[in-house]
């Protein structure tokens, strides 16, 4: 984000982004990511991370319990399927509403504190929801088995029990699995991105940045930061709820493990990896992590032997032995290492890496050309 944002630039960015998302099946195919299940994950977690970034990236409040909203969204979506029918649109709307209400309640309490206390409060709430979903709330959440749509459910609007096809969500006759499912998620991701972009550029977004940079000064100016942070918290909770609903729209099953705190950690990771406070970063981070998860965890020793086949034998065996620790079952090790490296060396994430490279190029070309000194940032 070195260039100053102007409306034209923003529009260009949005158009390029939308085009890139919609053509993902094509340009991701060569690296083995061109199948719909994975593409859906890219879009859904991109949305989740975008929402998380609206809170963490702009206000600096690190929520460690965002997965709770994902879970609430999922459960609401499945219940909407069960009661109203398999159309994804009411499910998505209900999920956004439910997670929004949930976020108002949690945010109202948690935002009374900041810093690490806020992190722990959100973590506490998320763990509470997770534990309850597993134990007492079993009538609503179906506990460990997970909540799914059954044939005996009422489903008021789509003539329940009559069809005997697979129970997938259908949007006016189009089944929301495979590529149609992906395009549905992609369109919502693009809408979500557009809203995030507008928030970033709005006075509201500036207020949120003010909360991050200096709350005291903001107080002295006569502004109360709490309504702004609460609004950001609720919006980002709604994004998470929508993402949770989309997970169920593409695969109608909701389980409590979605709310576990490791899931909250994952979205933090995505945002950091891509670059917090940037528009594209979190989506990039989400894509990379889901890519690692799906592709790397499918690697096994044979694949590695094929990849390193060009090495002489005495080298090949140890290389395969070492790399096999990082793929397959051990992909989380890769994730952990990557995560540490990013936090240590590149706190701004991948986007900062890009802008550093960009600056390097600009400087060298500037030195060759008109001998202008680069303006101080």
């Amino acid at each position: 984000m070195s260039a100053t944002p102007t409306p034209t630039r923003d529009l260009l960015m949005f158009v390029v982004f939308a085009a890139a998302v919609l053509t993902m099946p094509m340009w991701l195919a060569p690296i083995g990511a061109g199948y719909p299940d994975l593409l859906q994950k890219f879009a859904i977690y991109g949305l989740f991370a975008t929402g998380f970034n609206l809170l963490f990236g702009l206000t600096g409040y690190l929520s460690f319990g965002h997965a709770a909203f994902l879970g609430v969204g999922s459960y609401t979506a499945v219940w909407t399927f069960k009661l109203l029918g398999m159309n994804p649109i009411p499910a998505a709307i209900m999920a956004i509403a439910a997670s929004g209400i949930f976020a108002v309640a949690i945010g109202f309490v948690s935002l009374r504190r900041s810093g690490i206390y806020f992190s722990i409060l959100t973590l506490a709430f998320a763990q509470m929801s997770y534990n309850l979903a597993y134990s007492v709330l079993t009538p609503i959440t179906n506990g460990e088995t997970g909540l799914r749509v059954l044939r005996s459910d009422p489903r008021l609007f789509d003539a329940a029990g009559q069809g005997d096809g697979p129970l997938v969500s259908t949007l006016f006759g189009i089944e929301m699995s495979g590529y149609p499912g992906f395009y549905f998620c992609a369109v919502l991701l693009i809408i979500g991105f557009f809203i995030a972009q507008r928030i970033f550029r709005s006075p509201f977004g500036t207020m949120l940045r003010a909360v991050k940079s200096n709350q005291n000064r903001m107080n002295y100016t006569g502004l109360n930061p709490r309504p702004y942070t609460l609004a950001a918290f609720v919006i980002s909770g709604m994004y998470a709820g929508l993402a949770g609903a989309l997970l169920c729209i593409t695969d109608p099953l909701a389980g409590a493990e979605r709310m576990q705190w490791t899931a909250s950690g994952e979205v933090v990771l995505m945002t950091i990896l891509g670059g917090m406070g940037t528009l594209l970063g979190p989506i990039l981070g989400a894509g990379l992590i889901k890519y690692f998860e799906n592709i790397f965890s499918a690697f096994n020793e044979q694949t590695l032997h094929r990849i390193f086949g060009f090495l002489p034998d005495f080298l090949e065996t140890p290389v395969v032995a070492i790399t096999s620790l990082f793929v397959g079952e051990g992909w989380q090790l890769t994730l952990g290492v990557l995560f540490m490296l990013i936090v240590i060396f590149l706190p701004g994430g991948i986007m900062e890496g890009f802008s550093r490279i960009g600056r390097m190029f600009r400087r060298s070309s500037g030195a060759k050309g008109s001998h202008q000194t680069a303006p101080a940032e």
């Binding site: 600096g60 690190l62 309490v109 009374r112 504190r113 900041s114 810093g115 690490i116 206390y117 992190s119 722990i120 409060l121 973590l123 506490a124 709430f125 763990q127 509470m128 534990n131 309850l132 597993y134 134990s135 007492v136 709330l137 705190w261 490791t262 950690g265 933090v268 950091i272 620790l325 079952e329 051990g330 989380q332 090790l333 994730l335 952990g336 290492v337 995560f339 540490m340 936090v343 240590i344 706190p347």
Partner: protein, 342 residues
């Protein structure tokens, strides 16, 4: 009354584990100002010190004895652990007491791990925001966890307590209640005493040694101590190593109670953080008191009588207490005024 006492005892050993981990967390936070999300991983590493010690001394030598045959007519395989073959009775004793004896292994190992961690990673994060510290130690925790998973597998590995303290004590009979009313496993009692001893040791160390005095001074006002010409960073490294040892020992001794697997640390970490916050950030007595308090509360909440009134309360009681404390008294039960209060 006896039910009450039983729940109290049940809460105490879990509380002991919470208190030990929270003590280490508070030491690190109070001295270094670092929020260490990898502390649960240290607990786990300690537990796996016990596991590897046990594996090491039960390595078996297989001798085929041609003079005897099994019921199937094949030569009898005699399996003797190397430790037994080499040291005889002492070896047998060693196998039996592997969990407590592995403390001897765990102390140097945890010291080294703590030292390397602080010098290699944490040192560079003193002046970074808390969010960065949380994130980098979280990453480290994932890495440590995965390494243990590759080395030991994903399944819990049960460890047994020494024969002498296996089984349960009928405390009820001793105190004059009905026999069998209060039955409490011996090992949990050992754990309780052990954690009390460690806590007392740490406090004595901080209270009665010159080193401890410097550390306490550093916790109160780091800059002034530095201005007096004391190399405070050096001391803090040692404090970190001590905190690692405390967490590790808590892990070692907990193995007979809960078979360790690679994510045991994460489960304890979340709760210990809550404990630290309830006790008050940077307050050592607070951490200990809150550890025992929450352990006991949790055990009371899991009584059937309580669960009938408030279903599910046992699952959320700790978090609920934390939320209430943070909202009503943000500096925690025994926190100092002005430390991390907003």
């Amino acid at each position: 009354m006896d039910v009450f006492l039983l729940q109290l005892l049940n809460g105490l050993d879990k509380g002991g584990a919470y208190a030990l981990i929270a003590l280490g967390l508070t030491l690190i936070f109070g001295t270094l100002g670092v929020v260490n999300f990898a502390h649960g991983a240290l607990f786990m590493l300690g537990a796996f010190c016990a596991v590897s010690f046990n594996k090491l001394i039960t390595l078996q030598k297989i001798i085929i004895d041609p003079t005897k045959t099994t019921a199937w007519g094949t030569p009898l395989e005699v399996r003797t652990p190397y430790a037994e073959a080499m040291f005889g009775d002492f070896g047998q004793w060693l196998v039996n007491y592997s969990v407590p004896v592995s403390i001897v292994l765990a102390i140097p190992v945890m010291l080294i791990i703590g030292f390397v961690m602080e010098r290699g990673l944490i040192k560079h994060f003193y002046n970074r925001p808390h969010a960065d510290q949380i994130l980098v130690t979280f990453g480290l925790a994932i890495v440590l966890q995965e390494v243990i998973k590759t080395l030991f597998g994903a399944n819990p590995i049960p460890q047994s307590a020494p024969d002498a303290v296996r089984g349960a004590a009928d405390i009820g009979a001793m105190l004059g209640f009905q026999a069998g009313a209060i039955v409490y496993p011996w090992w949990r009692m050992v754990y309780l005493l052990f954690s009390a001893a460690i806590i007392a040791g740490v406090f004595a160390f901080l209270q009665f040694t010159t080193f401890g005095m410097v550390v306490r001074a550093g916790m109160a006002d780091r800059e002034t101590v530095g201005l007096l010409g004391i190399n405070i960073e050096r001391r803090f490294t040692i404090v970190f190593a001590i905190a690692a040892v405390v967490a590790g020992l808590a892990g070692v001794m907990y193995t007979p109670i809960l078979p360790p697997d690679y994510h045991i640390g994460m489960e304890f970490l979340v709760l210990s953080f809550v404990v630290v916050v309830v006790g008050g950030m940077g307050s050592l007595p607070g951490a200990v008191a809150a550890g025992f308090l929450l352990g006991i509360l949790q055990s009371f909440a899991s009584m059937n009588e309580v669960k009938d009134v408030l279903p599910g309360i046992d699952q959320i009681i700790i978090y609920l207490v934390a939320v209430v404390i943070l909202l009503v008294r943000p500096r925690g039960l025994m926190g100092r005024r002005g430390v991390m209060e907003n």
